[in-house]
């Protein structure tokens, strides 16, 4: 194996000249800046969702507590789910996609930089619209999956559900646009020699997730359009009195909702598939199998939605088919877990914070995966549906799986993004507090659930044996909150005075480590020529002799104009027809301005 220093070409010497000021961030089309915007927005919503969770845990700390009234509690669990899944975890994942994919494939930007900016603004405006419901008469109260006909105008009066529909329509459109962009980027913009079977695992998982997004979000879009028409124009899609079937909502929602689970978790799998090889100083064990199992998870994810609906009574045949397909998914998932372990086996492991989080993911996700296989069996699921057992399962997967993976990625790539390390001592404190905190919070929920404690209920009476479990969970949530505060302190402190990092602080194998930290605007001075799967480890990068002419796209304000038009259109649905027409006019004007704007200066 060649030494790392010898393998790293001297890239990124060109001056990093970003314009300053707020306007430069609003009009940016640079994938790295858009990545940072996604990351910061996602982190803010992570804190909002965390506060919502903390309030619920305080309410549940003691039986018969009166800190929150039932209506507020309903709003909090609805918004907690929506915020964490769609406004925190997905955007933080999108931040990683944006920042890293072009760097990992040796490109100067994504295929459509202005569309990329549009995706971000659509997400942000949708997220703000959804959260503004707190100010205008109350947030939605029907749960993140918003089962019909709880959501009809009769049972959800007020505008909460309308904000749900309109906010998620905007944010969802943003996700589809972003995913289309990444599909084209990954298939078309790879550096010479970087065949698909040499692409880093994180980029592979981005590709799989992008396909899932473009296929899973349209059914959800249709479902919320039906709901919008039911609420505003009296159609009968989910109205039993008119012959409509509320169960159809559940189908359409979970056709989106189950792939969404993998949309959320696969980026984390991609991240630790980068972190574990680097900190074990061994190439990923069985690379093609890990790739294929990721693709298989993505594909099978579309065939299992009705396992969320076993208690509906679809019949033994349907239940058996969906149970079988669901259990099948455990195989590629297990394959991945064994390949990560095999990568570490015999490696020169360095337990830096990023690696601790990665190993934490393996442990925690395995627990969440095991309870997942339990739910896959309809008779077991009937006992567990709507109890805290399910809450325990999904948090082991989403926090223990996804969030730990995202934290791992933050420690791993922070030096690349900022040129400074995150503090290791604080990082380890962050890890151990998180690890203890989430286990204290979520492990007792298994028992509370098996003893029959229902989810989405604002309180419980004393004497049923739930007190100890709930108090433990609340204490655990407090410790988790403390861990997040340590992390925020670490972020702020390391940004200002963290230890300086060079181009390749960990000795990673992939192309992003071949350019300076932070990378220049144009990423690479020369397009790298790749000759192996771990280009910086195995004599894999060659530099062309001739210098290249570099054209970077101009900043543009049209993406934010089009997104503002879409926001106006959505808000107009609540205000009145003139506002809708204004929104359409702004959007159409923005699209024409966009189409005739010269891209390169």
């Amino acid at each position: 194996m060649a030494t790392i220093e010898a393998a790293v070409p001297d890239q990124g010497r060109g001056a990093s000249t970003y314009a300053g000021g707020v306007w430069s961030w609003i009009t940016t089309v640079d994938h790295k800046r858009i990545g940072i915007l996604y990351f910061v927005s996602g982190l803010v919503f992570f804190l909002v969702g965390g506060v919502e969770a903390m309030l619920m845990r305080l309410q549940l700390a003691a039986p018969g507590n009166t800190l929150l009234d039932p209506a507020t509690y309903n709003q909090l669990f609805t918004m907690h789910g929506l915020t964490m899944i769609l406004l925190a975890v997905m955007p933080i994942g999108a931040g990683f996609f944006n920042y890293l994919v072009p760097l990992q494939i040796g490109a100067r930007d994504v295929a459509f930089p202005r569309l990329n900016a549009l995706s971000y603004w659509l997400f942000l405006f949708g997220a703000l619209l959804l959260n503004s419901s707190f100010l205008f008469g109350g947030a939605p109260q029907a749960g993140w999956f918003a089962y019909a006909n709880l959501t009809s105008s009769q049972y959800s009066p007020g505008h909460g559900m309308d904000f749900y529909i309109l906010g998620l329509a905007l944010a969802g459109t943003g996700s589809i646009v972003a995913a289309l962009n990444f599909i084209v980027t990954i298939l078309n913009l790879r550096a010479p020699g970087l065949s698909l079977m040499r692409v880093p695992l994180f980029t592979w998982m981005t590709l799989v997730v992008s396909f899932q997004i473009i296929l899973a979000f349209p059914p959800f879009t249709i479902a919320i359009v039906f709901l919008l028409f039911d609420r505003m124009f009296g159609t009968l899609f989910f109205e039993p009195l008119g012959g409509g079937d509320p169960i159809l909502w559940q189908h359409l929602f979970w056709i989106f909702g189950h792939p969404e689970v993998y949309i959320v978790v696969l980026p984390a799998f991609g991240i630790i598939s980068e972190v574990i090889p680097t900190f074990s100083r061994k190439p990923l064990f069985g690379y093609p199998v890990v790739v294929y199992s990721g693709v298989l998870i993505g594909f099978l994810g579309f065939g299992v939605w009705a396992h969320h609906m076993f208690s509906v009574g679809l019949g033994p045949l349907a239940n058996s088919v969906f149970a079988g397909l669901t259990m099948l998914i455990a195989i590629p998932t297990g394959v991945k877990i064994f390949h990560w372990i095999a990568t570490m086996w015999g490696g020169a492991i360095r337990f830096r914070t990023a690696m601790l989080f990665a190993v934490g993911l393996i442990v925690m996700f395995t627990i969440g995966g095991l309870t997942g296989v339990m739910h896959a069996s309809p008779p077991a699921d009937l006992q567990q549906t709507d109890t805290y057992f399910v809450v325990a399962h999904l948090h082991y997967v989403l926090f223990g799986g996804t969030m730990l993976g995202l934290f791992s990625g933050m420690y791993y790539w922070f030096p690349k993004v900022t040129g400074r390390f995150l503090d290791e001592r604080l990082g380890k404190a962050h890890f151990w507090l998180t690890f203890i905190g989430i286990n204290l919070t979520f492990f007792p929920m298994h028992f509370a659930g098996l003893h029959g404690m229902p989810r989405r209920t604002y309180t419980y009476p004393a004497g049923l044996g739930f007190e100890g479990y709930n108090l433990t969970s609340t204490v655990g949530a407090g410790i988790t909150l403390l861990a997040v505060l340590v992390f925020l302190y670490n972020l702020v402190r390391s940004l200002r005075s963290g230890e300086r990092a060079g181009a390749s602080p960990w000795g990673g194998a992939t192309l992003e480590w071949s350019t300076s930290s932070p990378p220049p605007v144009h990423n690479f001075d020369w397009t790298p020529q790749v000759r192996s799967r771990d280009p910086l480890w195995h004599d894999g990068v060659e530099l062309p002799a001739a210098e290249e002419e570099i054209h970077m796209p101009n900043p543009s304000y049209w993406p934010v104009v089009v997104a503002a038009g879409a926001l106006t259109l959505a808000a107009g649905a609540l205000i009145g027809l003139p506002v809708v027409l204004l929104g359409v006019a702004v959007m159409v004007g923005g699209i024409y301005g966009w189409a005739f704007e010269p891209i390169h200066g």
Binding site: F112, I183, V184, N188, P219, I222, G244, Y592
Partner: protein, 190 residues
């Protein structure tokens, strides 16, 4: 043309990926239409209203617009300015006739007592065909914009990918109608 790994231009690949996404959009609409078929509690029912001869004519118009669309692309690629102008405009006009036919159909249905919220047939019919009609309308605006470019002589063979991408969208909207025509109109009696 920019270098790409696959040899396919970025814009064209973007459109195909988008079409893949649109498959799921229309699949959700069609699945809903089919699951709610024959479940309306009150009339008017599909067999009372659907006018097969009328819709066959507009279906034929939309099919022929796909022919004029490929001829437009072929003209642009050959640098035939007159052909480009004629066929782009013709395609847009055929699209307008189709949407006009849909407007006539919708208002006829409304006149017969089939308001949007009348029954499950009206809910599913208006949203499914409405989504499709909205796609055709967007396509018409797109084609007219391209037509304006040809009138100003700004759409030569070097930018034929713009027409190719618009054409892919247009043909996809056409194949969706091939399915909807069969599912909604011709299978209405069974």
């Amino acid at each position: 043309m920019e270098r790409t790994n696959t040899g396919v231009p970025n814009e064209k690949m973007l459109m195909w990926a988008f079409i893949g996404s649109e498959c799921m959009l229309f699949a959700s609409l069609i699945a809903t239409y089919l699951t709610y078929r024959g479940r309306s509690l009150v009339g008017p029912y599909p067999e009372d209203l659907l006018n097969i001869p009328f819709i066959t004519v507009t279906t034929f118009v939309l099919l022929m617009s796909s022919l004029t669309m490929v001829l437009a692309l072929s003209a642009v690629q050959r640098g035939d300015a007159r052909g480009s102008r004629v066929f782009l405009l013709l395609t847009a006009v055929l699209g307008i006739i189709f949407v006009g036919g849909q407007a006539i159909e919708f208002s006829h249905f409304a006149g017969e007592g089939l308001g949007l919220s009348r029954n499950l047939f009206s809910s599913t019919f208006f949203l499914t065909t409405g989504f499709h009609g909205a796609h055709v309308t967007v396509g018409v605006i797109w084609l007219l914009s391209l037509w304006v470019l040809t009138m100003r002589g700004r759409l030569g063979p070097e930018s034929s990918v713009k027409v190719e991408v618009a054409g892919l969208y247009w043909h996809f909207v056409d194949v969706v109608w091939i399915v909807l025509f069969t599912v909604i109109y011709l299978m209405s009696g069974s």
